[in-house]
């Protein structure tokens, strides 16, 4: 039995996950919490938010995120990848700056517009 805090939403439900019984989750207030509890023990994932260099705009750094959670062990590789990306204005909010990174289905998207 493992105790975890769910990070899916700010409520932070205290979950209990039973590895012996197919990772059944109790303590969750919603279905996303059950999914989180399972995943966290089997293959933990995290959304990564950071910035990339921006050119051609008054804005120097463009905020970005992974459009879905990334396997936790790839976080620092993801950051290293972001360090190599430069966004050139104009860029729309939501634009994909890097697709299917690090052998996953995860894309890096801009979280704001980068105007000229």
């Amino acid at each position: 039995m493992k105790e975890l805090i769910c990070i899916t939403c700010p409520r932070g439900c205290h979950l209990t996950v039973d590895e012996a019984h197919d990772y059944a989750v109790t303590g969750n207030a919603c279905p996303r919490g059950a999914e989180y509890g399972r995943n966290e023990l089997l293959h933990p994932v995290r959304t990564v938010t950071s910035t990339v260099r921006a050119e051609g705009s008054a804005i120097r750094r463009l905020p970005v995120k992974t459009d879905r959670p990334l396997p936790k062990e790839k976080i620092f590789d993801c950051i290293a990848l972001l360090n190599t990306i430069t966004a050139h204005a104009p860029v729309n909010c939501g634009a994909v700056l890097a697709a299917k990174i690090l052998g996953t289905d995860v894309n890096i998207v801009a979280t704001r517009a980068l105007p000229l």
């Binding site: 910035t51 990339v52 260099r53 750094r61 972001l82 360090n83 190599t84």
Partner: protein, 493 residues
């Protein structure tokens, strides 16, 4: 030796007077000397002026009842207090004649008030008056109920100490005095008719040398002969309270000394804050300016005896200053015993700030007596203007912004300091190179958020106006870097 020679290649310029240290003592002397036909150099080890004790003190203009009658301290305190208001007006430096109280917290304090009163009268302090407890509280309602008497000195005041130092130094520079920053004095050779001064920025030749090096004064004296006094630097810690507490008292409120020590003061500042402190602890060294839990507690407890309603949670900053206390009780204002053309202006502890303009006057006399020829310049521009945006009327503000739109961009929200004022400070006769250099000139960052909001914006302006890499800009002295590196493997470090 008041004429200038340039002896050609390989020969250095020979200065008439070289001042070591550009705190309030050095700046005041430079300001005086700049009125005469002299080649004057000021050597300052830091990257800006007013970086020592001048930057961290109570900012009080003392009336002069405290120093013992007959001492230089007493004479120069009273004279300095007299000079301060017109000087500050001419230089656009903040000054306010608040008057001061020394309060008696119990009966045993009353004889001390009497003693100060008599001493003050002998020293020539104007307007001194002894008040009863009721009279004191009528003038200052937040004083403790235990106050049973007070000495009122109407001629005391408060001033902007670094503002005065910077203003005097700027006027000196504008009138031909050379200022070399980042020039620490490492050795002095006395060649009879001249000195060779070894500094971190090169050697200098000078006929006369003046030691205004603050808490390092004894070290300079030891460079020409046996050390003439011992240094006992003393550290004092302060709280600076938010402007919302600035009106708790109108006068500077001093306590009588007790077995526990000199007592702490509570005073308004020229910027509208309330300053509380200092204690007095032996400093670890001449530059020891840390605050300590025990020291701050001591200041807190002691100050509440004067003003019980003091809420120190309203503090926006703590700091400590180090005083040049020496083995001598009076100011050390005399030529060196080992070297006849080296003048010491040392041991400038309280009331040093107040006395500084008078010390400079006196130093001129001493230098004359040491053989320096003083010939007044036919023209000397001693005024200094400074725009303070927030003090202007609506119409004046509107007009100023029309003339220069940079005055319409407020950078420091807490103190309403504009881009125009900051740019003007960057292009002043002694250009600042640091965030705190801007703070000392334009006031940005002195407010309740302590630069949290304006810091990045001031940094940007400095980088832009100086054409520097933002990462090279220090918080204050050299080595106080703010930014370590660019993110994303940036090429700038």
């Amino acid at each position: 030796m008041f004429w200038l020679f340039y002896f050609g290649k390989g020969q250095k310029t020979m200065y008439d007077v070289t001042i070591i240290g550009c705190g309030i003592a050095g700046a005041s002397l430079a300001y005086q000397l700049s009125q005469y036909d002299l080649r004057v150099l000021v050597l300052e080890r830091e990257n800006d002026v007013s970086m020592g004790t001048t930057k961290a003190n109570s900012a009080i203009v003392h009336a002069g009842y405290d120093p013992e009658y007959g001492t230089l301290m007493a004479k120069l305190n009273v004279r300095g207090a007299e000079m301060m208001e017109p000087l500050c007006r001419a230089l656009s430096v903040e000054y306010r004649r608040t008057g001061s109280f020394v309060i008696a917290l119990n009966e045993t304090d009353l004889p001390h008030l009497q003693k100060l009163y008599k001493n003050g009268v002998k020293n020539g302090v104007p307007g001194l008056r002894l008040l009863s407890g009721e009279e004191a509280r009528a003038m200052e309602p937040h004083l403790a109920d235990t106050v049973c008497g007070a000495l009122l000195a109407p001629s005391a005041g408060i001033v902007d100490p670094w503002g005065l130092c910077i203003a005097e130094a700027e006027v000196a520079v504008r009138n031909g005095v050379e200022l070399r920053l980042r020039s620490e004095v490492r050795g002095v050779e006395d060649h009879g008719g001249r000195y060779v001064v070894h500094t971190s920025s090169g050697d200098v030749e000078t006929a006369y040398l003046v030691n205004c090096s603050g808490t390092h004064g004894h070290e300079i004296s030891a460079m020409v002969g046996p050390r003439e006094w011992d240094a006992h630097p003393s550290r004092g810690e302060y709280y600076l309270l938010d402007k919302s507490s600035g009106g708790l008292v109108q006068h500077v409120i001093f306590q009588c000394p007790t077995v526990r020590g000199k007592g702490v003061l509570v005073s308004p500042t020229v910027h509208g804050n309330l300053i509380v402190g200092p204690n007095a602890q032996d400093a670890d060294d001449a530059d020891d300016r840390k605050t300590t839990l025990s020291g701050l507690d001591e200041v807190a407890d002691s100050s509440r005896r004067s003003v019980p309603c003091l809420d120190l949670r309203q503090s926006i900053r703590n700091f400590a200053g180090v005083r040049a206390v020496t083995s001598e009780s009076d100011f050390i204002l005399r030529p060196s015993a080992s070297s006849p053309r080296l003048l010491h202006i040392c041991g400038i502890k309280s009331p040093g700030l107040t006395a500084a303009p008078a010390i400079a006057e006196y130093a001129l006399e001493l230098l004359g007596g040491m053989g320096l020829t003083l010939c007044r310049k036919s023209s000397w521009d001693g005024g200094r203007e400074r725009i303070c945006f927030r003090k202007l009327s609506e119409t004046e503000k509107a007009e100023l912004i029309r003339r220069d739109p940079r005055y319409g961009r407020v950078i420091c929200r807490c103190e309403t300091i504009t881009e125009g004022e900051i740019v003007a400070a960057i292009h002043s006769p002694i250009p600042p190179c640091s965030i705190d250099g801007i703070k000392r000139r334009a006031g940005a960052g002195m407010g309740r958020c302590q630069g949290g909001f304006c810091g990045p914006r001031v940094l940007e302006l400095l980088a832009r106006e100086l054409g520097s890499n933002p990462m090279q800009i220090p918080q204050d002295g050299d080595g106080t870097r703010l930014l370590i590196e660019e993110t994303k493997g940036g090429d700038r470090k």
